[in-house]
Symmetry: C2
Subunit: 348 residues, 2 copies
């Protein structure tokens, strides 16, 4: 009894009007109705009114499937993402949706669970269909990056990636470059008097994220020791474990965390070890998730304009076939927001 077991029967179908019905009601041809719908200038104002009246009377709604079929391309965008709940992904999706809605496009979502070949292949197949329209791949991680690589040349796509893009891929890629902000954050901590800054790194496709590079650059140009990086996955638990290792080392007085969630878990580990934030250890995050301003202590972090990134991706997708990026679509540059979790070291 799957609902796909049959087409709609004749009676149900006749209930929803087509342009032919509208045409008959208005006393014009279906082509004229089509012209009115597409805002062709070649229609006399009174004819147009006739048609619009009929549309209104019948409650006509254009059929996207038919239009996509006739056009050979759907007015839609499918967002490929490995997650819908993490802040960066959800915000980027939000930006894409917002921009797409404003241009009348439909928005689809497709989650790639992992970068396993089966998951990637199914996603690519789903999205290769004409009906899917354009594609925006949120490729902050390995799963998204792999989808991007395997996407057939025929489907128009852009990607939101880590800063620097994904090497060995010819697609249009848009990203927030937080290298500068990462360096700013690191210098901020050094200027407070910390001897060095430790780094808890979230997953990265390239393995050398902008956060990491900016952090390392700032340390090196300050002539300061570059501590070993602690890599974590997306789970709070893994960041907590990293936090415990940091807490055990009395030399650690400043930690730059790959995102706010990681910062939260690290802070917890420090707390359990009896190390105060920011009294004993300063903690800085990335993202500026709404709410971190209300932490105790309020989190010093780098604000990331993922919504703007999403909007820029859609703008780039629209420009794909032809020309140059439209103006005003650039997202805000990442920037350090200093709050309470960073302070001068008390000891040492």
């Amino acid at each position: 009894m799957r609902p796909s077991s049959g087409r709609l029967d004749r009676r149900q179908r006749e209930a929803v009007p087509s342009i032919r019905d509208v045409a008959a009601t208005a006393g014009v041809s279906y082509q004229t109705v089509s012209r009115v719908l597409n805002e062709s200038p070649r229609v006399r104002p009174d004819t147009r009114r006739l048609v619009l009246d009929a549309i209104d009377r019948l409650g006509y709604r254009p059929n996207r499937a038919a239009r996509a079929l006739g056009l050979g391309r759907a007015n839609a965008v499918t967002v490929v993402t490995s997650d819908t709940m993490l802040y960066g992904y959800a915000s980027t999706l939000r930006g894409i949706e917002e921009a797409a809605r404003q241009t009348g496009m439909a928005v689809g979502v497709r989650v790639v669970e992992s970068d396993r070949p089966a998951d990637v292949r199914q996603t690519v197949e789903h999205v290769s269909d004409q009906g899917a329209g354009g594609v925006v791949v949120i490729a902050f991680d390995a799963a998204g990056a792999q989808v991007l690589r395997e996407l057939p040349a025929g489907v128009s796509a852009v990607a939101a990636t880590e800063a620097g893009g994904i090497p060995g891929c010819e697609r249009t890629m848009i990203f927030l470059d937080e290298r500068q902000a990462a360096a700013d954050a690191t210098r901020h901590l050094l200027s407070l008097g910390h001897r060095t800054v430790h780094h808890v790194a979230i997953p990265s496709e390239t393995g050398r994220s902008a956060r990491q590079v900016g952090w390392r650059d700032a340390l090196e140009s300050a002539g300061v020791a570059v501590p070993e990086i602690l890599p974590v996955d997306w789970s709070p638990g893994s960041a907590y474990t990293a936090g415990r290792r940091l807490a055990a080392d009395r030399d650690v007085t400043a930690v730059l965390c790959g995102n706010d969630d990681a910062a939260l878990a690290v802070r917890r580990a420090l707390y359990e070890a009896g190390r105060d934030v920011p009294g004993d250890v300063s903690v800085v995050g990335f993202d500026d998730v709404p709410g971190v301003a209300y932490w105790t202590p309020a989190l010093t972090t780098v604000r990331m304009d993922f919504v703007g990134l999403g909007r820029a991706c859609l703008a780039a997708l629209l420009d794909e076939p032809g020309g140059d990026p439209r103006p005003g679509a650039a997202p805000e540059a990442p920037r350090l927001v200093v709050r309470e979790s960073s302070a001068p070291p008390s000891r040492g």
Copy 2:
């Protein structure tokens, strides 16, 4: 120069194979290809192999738009939501996506910015199209509820709502009933020795959310004073303001917050007023957002299975035309998770 300005030209179109191309390659009719694609039993195994080989060789992908047009209905679901970033909304979307993907459906997203008539109308129009397929409305708030009410009878839809559903609406509605858990949370606080429990209420369509009802029931059956409710919106700032009011009242020793984000901001306000959590005031949230276990103090909260809710919505949508709900689709019941933010009152 909008990309929708023309159909794909002939050359581009010829590049993507149709069932007719597959049929020619396999030496069968297009109908036979269609039968293979739809797993009709009426195809001889060797014919099937022939067709599958051809599909593989040509890299054929079925065209969803054409199928939707022929069928009169798309194998797709559109999720209508007023938000994509708040935990409850994002998790529900995730559950829907997951379940839809497993049945091969495409998933669309459409955000309703508000319950203003223009926003609601545009959303309803978007979703009334056959191409949108079924609809799941996430109607936790006024915007979603209004869309649900205005949805034409012809479109098949189910809704994820507040507990109790939306009165005066005949649609299938699925919800998590947190009344019991809210009462449990309140009793938990009373049993710790608190004289009463205050409530910070997040937006609710009905104005009498299950959280509120469970809380009130527990207070009344304990014969305890029912304090005035403090309503807040989704912004952390408004919960912070409510928190300041609570902090100023020395009689307040226990607060049940409508969600974890609100709990966070309330906790901040208490902190600024020099009131310790849980030493002076106990705070309990709703949702169990990943991460609140790592707060300092770890948050006592009610776990809500929004992902399961989303899955259940999709299952209900598939069952819409015909029969009874499929088994095993029920989400977990909300339940209290006691952590560190609730404790006996120190004074009084």
